[in-house]
């Protein structure tokens, strides 16, 4: 059984935001409009956090793409009363929209603020409504949602591999953000396969995990120059 994970090379990320756009397109994430976005209700399953280091004029700009960290010990899963948030066998932190009653407890428990609430029924600005992905359900008002590591692509690739009678090779599965990253800052793969690219990166001495001290055991590794 694989354990899906991701490695993010912060030294490669240039903050272009292609991953954010790709994620919106792939996962049918509603656009909320300028007013709601100003109130902090824009739902970006992956976001580019932008930090400045140092004092002006000696400033260095760094970017950190943050998505659901697919934690091994996920705080969001424990607190969900209806098992809408639970752990799959392949290490994914799954969200079952139809089971969600909208307590929003999972979002409070998430240290990464990687969970999003549908305040209204989803809507898309024209012509975005013409490019909805048929593999992903849309979420009604009152439901939590979050990055799934593009589980529809994972399952699709697994089914395809089984149909072809072959093995799933490293790199066969690419979540939308990974696929769209021009500088290959994002790498996705099986962490239990010692030869996969993601696995090798996650063991890199440059690697750290986000808020490791909270004890969530994330499956996303951030690689950065150690100063």
């Amino acid at each position: 059984m694989p354990r899906w994970g991701m490695a993010v090379d912060l030294d490669r990320c240039n903050g272009c935001g292609a991953c954010v756009v790709a994620c919106h397109a792939e996962n049918n994430i509603a656009t909320v409009g300028a007013d709601e976005a100003a109130r902090g209700r824009a739902n970006h399953w992956i976001r580019i956090e932008r930090y400045w280091e140092g004092e002006f004029p000696d400033v260095r700009l760094t970017f950190r793409p943050v998505m659901c960290q697919q934690c091994g010990n996920a705080p969001c899963e424990i607190v969900c009363p209806t098992y809408a948030s639970h752990h799959t066998e392949d290490g994914l932190n799954a969200q079952v929209y139809n089971r969600c009653v909208g307590t929003r407890y999972c979002a409070n428990a998430c240290p990464y603020n990687a969970r999003f609430f549908n305040f209204f029924n989803p809507a898309w600005d024209k012509p975005l409504h013409l490019q909805l992905n048929p593999d992903v359900s849309v979420r009604e008002a009152g439901v939590m949602e979050k990055c799934t590591f593009c589980v529809q692509r994972i399952r699709g690739a697994q089914l395809q591999a089984r149909a072809d009678g072959g093995e799933l090779r490293d790199g066969d599965i690419q979540p939308a953000c990974v696929q769209s990253c021009a500088v290959r800052a994002l790498v996705f793969g099986d962490l239990d396969d010692p030869d996969s690219e993601a696995s090798r990166f996650s063991r890199s001495p440059r690697g750290t995990r986000l808020l490791e001290d909270v004890g969530t055991r994330p499956n996303v590794t951030y690689l950065a120059r150690q100063s």
Binding site: G40, I78, V79, P81, T103, P111, N113, F116, N118, F119
Partner: protein, 475 residues
Amino acid sequence: MTYPPAPLVDDGLLRPLVRRSSSPSPPVISSRIDSDLLRPLLLTSSRFYVVAAFFGAFVLAGLVAWISQIYFGFGISGIRRPVYWGFYVTNFVFWIGISHAGTLISAILRLVNAGWRRPVTRCAEAITVFALMIGAMFPLIHLGRPWLAFWLFPYPSERLIWPNFRSPLVWDFFAINTYLTGSVLFLVLPMIPDFAVVRDKSTGLRRRIYRALALGWRGTPRQWHRLETAMQIMAIAIIPVAVSVHTIVSFDFSMAPVPMWQTTIFGPYFVAGAIFSGIAALIIAMAVLRRVLHLEAYLHPVHFENLGKLLLVMALLWGYFVFNERLVTYYGNGPAEMTVFFRTQRDSFAPLYWTMVVCNFVVPLVLIGIRRFRTITGCVLASGAVVVGMWLERFLIIVPSLGAKYLPYSFGTYRPQPVEIVITAATFAAMALLYALFTKIVPIISIWELKAGEHPSPALIPPATEEHRLGELHL
């Protein structure tokens, strides 16, 4: 079920209450108890309807607000990422806290057989039941899809999936369920003999209704013993349940890895705060009842003084817990914790924080600690401050932590919207309305318990207790 028969012999004793004069020489006080305490049930002035309509209008507005929130979507509230809990959960914790007034106070005072409790217990237990009903509404109101709330109940469903017993929200469901069941029964049990009194003193439809409510109560020694034993068992059972309820409410916060939430002190801190706000609510309710229903002969300054002293103790305990919580955080000096710490201590939430400290600590200490101010007015003023302060406390536990959770990029804040404010106001109106209606249906002071306290047998009660001292005051 056997109901008592119609009077076997009607010897003219069933006269209207007001003209009743020559019953077989009942004790004088006793007759006054009946007429004083049954008056609100039998006579209703037009002022009552005005008050009921006033509060009813607020409740209606709250209902409209909730329906519009369901209809238009949760977005019309002020909730936003990352502050996903706001006024609703504040109200939930606050009202569940208020509910600790009654059952806990009356159960403890019953167990230690404090004589001065007798006129107080029912007011307190009624607060518990109503506050709990209101508080238990909020998990529903704050749900994204409230029409699916029953998915939290443990029942075998076609979805083949049960609630997650590892979730604090499911613990909440069990705890509130047990507490509400226990509190309602704890309130209703000692009402049965009083229903029998109303049954015997009224006529017509009211008589038929109270005959059903009295459940065939006659008042044999067997019934009295069973009632008192049942009350004793309930009192013993309800105290740990009450403690568990607010501990579990605190677990809603302390089980999540959120700065300033994940702390072991939250259990006792919340329980102490709950009793604190509960006593304050009880003092206010008693003062209003005393004034409106003219119960000056039953609710004496000594009751307010005793409850005021309890309030003072809880204020000190509250201060102690807050100091503990703050000091440990300060010395831990974690970056995430310190962000929240200074947010409340000196940044954006500081005005609210220091208002809370003044309301919860300084005001009670001054108004109740100094004997000259420890009057009914003083106690009520202090209680009002405490209710405000405890509401702020719950708000300040929830919002600043959620708004400053670890990653500075996603910090945020929260501003309540009209829908939340209206619903919050409606809950206070609902409390007042339910309480007003309750006084019209049930004698607000337990008649039989008051009478039972009239004849303290010197052989059974040591002379130096509170009971004896108050017995001389004809309580």
